[in-house]
């Protein structure tokens, strides 16, 4: 009987895949906060209250200089926001954070209060990957949370395959790598070999604070502080871990699939 029961159940549930990106994006949890914004002009002279509270040393302020926050190093603990006396660092509640150049994650300069989102691929790469992207995932020295929330994109609620994006079981079948973790020295050889096994042209996506800059393990001699130490990175998606929506936005933005 259970076969009929489960068919009936499936019919009752209907399609559970979200409408996004045709419909509105699902809301972030209200306490999530989203990306950060740095209005360095609001900083009090010589104030560096945010600098020592940052667990990953993502914030620096040299004497006489503007404060600089590296969203690639940020693990979104919000300690700096609590410490800031002038509300120079704030949360935007914006889930969008993916950038194509590492320097686009540096906040605080004039006109650089927020991240500069990645532009869509164009030309040959867009033609090759825009409607069909096969990725090999390499997990290398993180905590498995970025992996978990990347896996979530494969569930029925998100259904990543409707965009032609799939994770494959061999680098030979892949167009590129999605890398997570701080790149432990113990994974350096495996990452190098996996990258070499992907046919060109190939791309690399670094997901999470670890893969961008080392995350909570930044500076440990056992890690290489991010994927760029071993392979060229084409897309950086910040977070600790990034919300699934942030990862999906990054992929779709880059493949030019958002303005449908």
């Amino acid at each position: 009987m259970f076969v009929l029961d489960s068919i009936l159940y499936r019919l009752q549930r209907g399609c559970q895949t979200m409408r996004y990106p045709q419909g509105p994006a699902p809301a972030l949890p209200d306490r999530h906060g989203g990306a950060l914004r740095v209005d360095a002009a609001k900083c009090a002279a010589d104030c560096d209250a945010c600098v020592p509270v940052c667990p990953t040393q993502a914030i620096v302020r040299e004497p006489g200089q503007r404060v600089a926050l590296d969203l690639g190093k940020c693990i979104f603990c919000a300690a700096c926001i609590a410490a800031c006396p002038t509300r120079a660092i704030t949360q935007t509640n914006d889930h969008r954070m993916a950038v194509a150049r590492r320097e686009d994650l540096l906040l605080g300069g004039p006109g650089a209060e927020e991240v500069r989102l990645a532009a869509a691929l164009n030309g040959k790469l867009k033609k090759l990957f825009g409607r069909s992207l096969r990725l090999r995932q390499v997990s290398a020295g993180g905590c498995n949370a970025c992996e978990a929330d990347t896996n979530v994109l494969g569930t029925i609620g998100w259904d990543l395959s409707r965009f032609g994006i799939q994770f494959v079981a061999s680098p030979r079948h892949a167009d590129g790598l999605l890398v997570t973790g701080a790149i432990s020295r113990n994974m350096e050889l495996a990452l190098r070999k996996t990258y070499a096994a992907v046919p060109a042209p190939k791309i690399v996506i670094a997901v999470g604070a670890c893969a961008i800059a080392g995350g909570p393990f930044i500076g440990h001699p056992q890690v290489l502080n991010g994927a760029a130490a071993v392979v060229p990175v084409d897309l950086f998606i910040p977070g600790c871990p990034p919300h699934p929506l942030t990862i999906l936005d990054g992929l779709l933005r880059w493949l030019d699939r958002l303005e449908a």
Binding site: F2, D5, S6, Y9, Q16, P29, D30, R31, H32, G33, V53, C54, P55, T56, Q57, I75, F76, C77, Q137, V138, S139, A140, G141, G142, C143, N144, A145, C146, E147, A148, D149, N151, V152, G154, T155, I156, G157, F167, A169, S170, G181, S184, R185, N186, M187, E188, L189, A190, R192, T194, G215, P216, F217, I218, H220, Q222, V223, C240, P241, H243
Partner: protein
């Protein structure tokens, strides 16, 4: 045995002066530890503490039925000591780890090789056990796996389809968590504790916070303990639901797989409702919790929880009813009760082999001193048993959350926690969703960490997976692996 030479007893979440921990010459220390284990003790941690005259061995032993822990240590060891593993296989990986970290050789250890040490650009995995013979073939898998999975290496010795022996080599996720802790706590320490195993953030952060509170002689406010206990069960619900879905997926039972994978996310979103992060980052901190659960939020939590629990019940009912699923789950990957006890399994894997072993029940600390739940066990030790224990725990976690939400304690959620006491040892056990998490901290004369030992439940349980594969078809590896659902990063540290 005279009183001065007994192990020092303490409760979970307590601290003792290091000077009070009894000390033996190394060979005698191994002998008394073996005697304690022989009379029903269980090795929670076995590690070494560096010192000027050489490293000392230290042991934390749990007597589950007596609800108590015991600690002891050796005098400085020059180079070698008689192996404990020969009498108690549960010490096997611990002794390898001590050898790797401090160079102390356990004499007579049957399989002394690295655990996670770096060797250039890969881990020093050492030589693998080999079966010889004309019909024998070897299958090598990993470190990079055919999915979105952490790295690890599996080496199977097979005769046809049948696995004679599986050896698991880890260390690929090693990122220096323990090595960074002496002299701490540092700025990044709490974040690193939250990411020892990212799917067990609440478990490890609670153990860490408990250790710091014990060292300072403080206790978190009751309401914070209540919040931590609820977050721990939400973590359990999410992961157990995800694992049931993944088990269903591995036997191509897609209806349950699809439903449970989505429902796992619904539970993660409940944790995010409390603290903003789906994995519970930033909720637990030494001295209490960072976020409170106001009445409106609690009401929403309860409503969404009940809906998700009803959906999980419906989705898993099909699983238990399906003959095709039972045929794959039953009598697959069996670990006997005796094996489980000998190798020191913890958590779901131990309880699925009929062992009554649950920190929440045996060593209650924090909120579990006031609110208990029954231990969920199943006798058979196979994939079905490990799935079934998860289902029992989902129901009991759901009921526990309902009860706790109905009676919230009042008061604040965060107290300032003082400086850690100098030359003090503290132990905290937490029943994470995989099993027992053990944190042991020892401070120096200035109250900084002199040694900090982390034992993730996976450290106890990986050898269980290797045993479960003996005489199994190699095609059953995925469901056996998923039924243990162990952490690579928690092991690799």
């Amino acid at each position: 045995m005279n009183a001065a030479r007994e192990f020092l007893w303490l409760a979970n979440g307590a601290s003792v002066p290091w000077a009070d921990v009894p000390e033996w010459p190394a060979p005698e220390f191994v002998a008394v530890t073996a005697a304690e284990l022989a009379r029903g003790g269980r090795l929670c941690a076995w590690f070494a503490v560096p010192g000027q005259s050489g490293p000392r061995l230290a042991a934390v032993i749990a007597f589950d039925a007596d609800n108590t822990l015991a600690v002891g240590r050796s005098a400085p060891v020059a180079k070698a000591y008689p192996s404990l593993t020969l009498r108690h296989p549960q010490a096997h990986l611990f002794e390898r780890e001590v050898w790797e970290q401090h160079g102390l050789e356990p004499e007579g250890h049957p399989w002394l090789k690295p655990v996670r040490r770096q060797n250039g650009d890969h881990p020093a995995v050492g030589r693998f056990f080999e079966v010889a013979g004309g019909e024998i073939h070897e299958v090598s898998v990993g470190p990079v796996h055919a999915g979105i999975i952490e790295p690890g290496h599996f080496r199977f010795q097979c005769q046809g389809e049948e696995v004679l022996h599986l050896e698991i080599a880890l260390g690929y996720q090693h990122r220096g968590v323990e090595e960074s802790l002496p002299g701490g706590p540092h700025r990044a320490t709490l974040s690193q504790m939250e990411t020892v195993a990212g799917d067990t953030t609440i478990g490890h952060a609670t153990a860490y916070a408990t250790v710091l509170e014990a060292l300072a002689g403080a206790e978190a406010p009751l309401r914070a303990q209540w919040l931590r206990a609820m977050a721990l069960e939400l973590e359990r619900l999410a992961n157990h639901t995800g694992d049931l879905g993944a088990l269903a997926g591995d036997v191509a039972f897609l209806t349950t797989a699809s439903a449970c994978e989505k429902l796992r996310g619904d539970f993660l979103n409940l944790t995010a409702l409390i603290c903003g992060n789906r994995f519970g980052r930033g909720l637990v901190r030494p001295g209490g919790c960072a976020q409170d659960l106001d009445p409106a939020r609690a009401a929403q939590l309860l409503k969404r929880l009940q809906a998700a629990l009803a959906d999980v019940a419906e989705a898993t009912d099909w699983l238990w009813d399906a003959n095709s699923v039972r045929a794959r789950f039953e009598l697959t990957g069996t670990v006997s009760n005796r094996q489980a006890d000998e190798i020191g399994l913890v958590g779901v894997a131990a309880r699925a082999s009929g062992l009554v072993r649950d920190v929440r029940f045996d060593h209650p600390a924090g909120w579990h001193r006031f609110a208990q739940m029954p231990v969920s066990t199943w006798p058979d030790g196979d994939v079905f048993a490990r799935a079934r224990v998860r289902w029992l725990e989902i129901r009991r976690a759901g009921r526990f959350l309902g009860e706790q939400l109905a009676a919230p304690p009042e008061g604040g959620i965060d107290d300032a926690v003082g400086k850690p006491a100098p030359d003090t040892l503290a132990v905290a056990l937490v029943e994470g969703w995989r099993g027992e998490i053990c944190h042991v901290a020892l401070t120096d004369g200035g109250g900084k960490f002199r040694r900090y030992k982390i034992v993730d439940p996976s450290f106890h349980n990986w050898p269980g997976l290797a045993l479960a594969l003996r005489r199994q078809a190699i095609s059953d590896f995925p469901i056996c692996n998923k039924s243990f659902s162990l952490s690579y990063c928690g092991f690799d540290l």
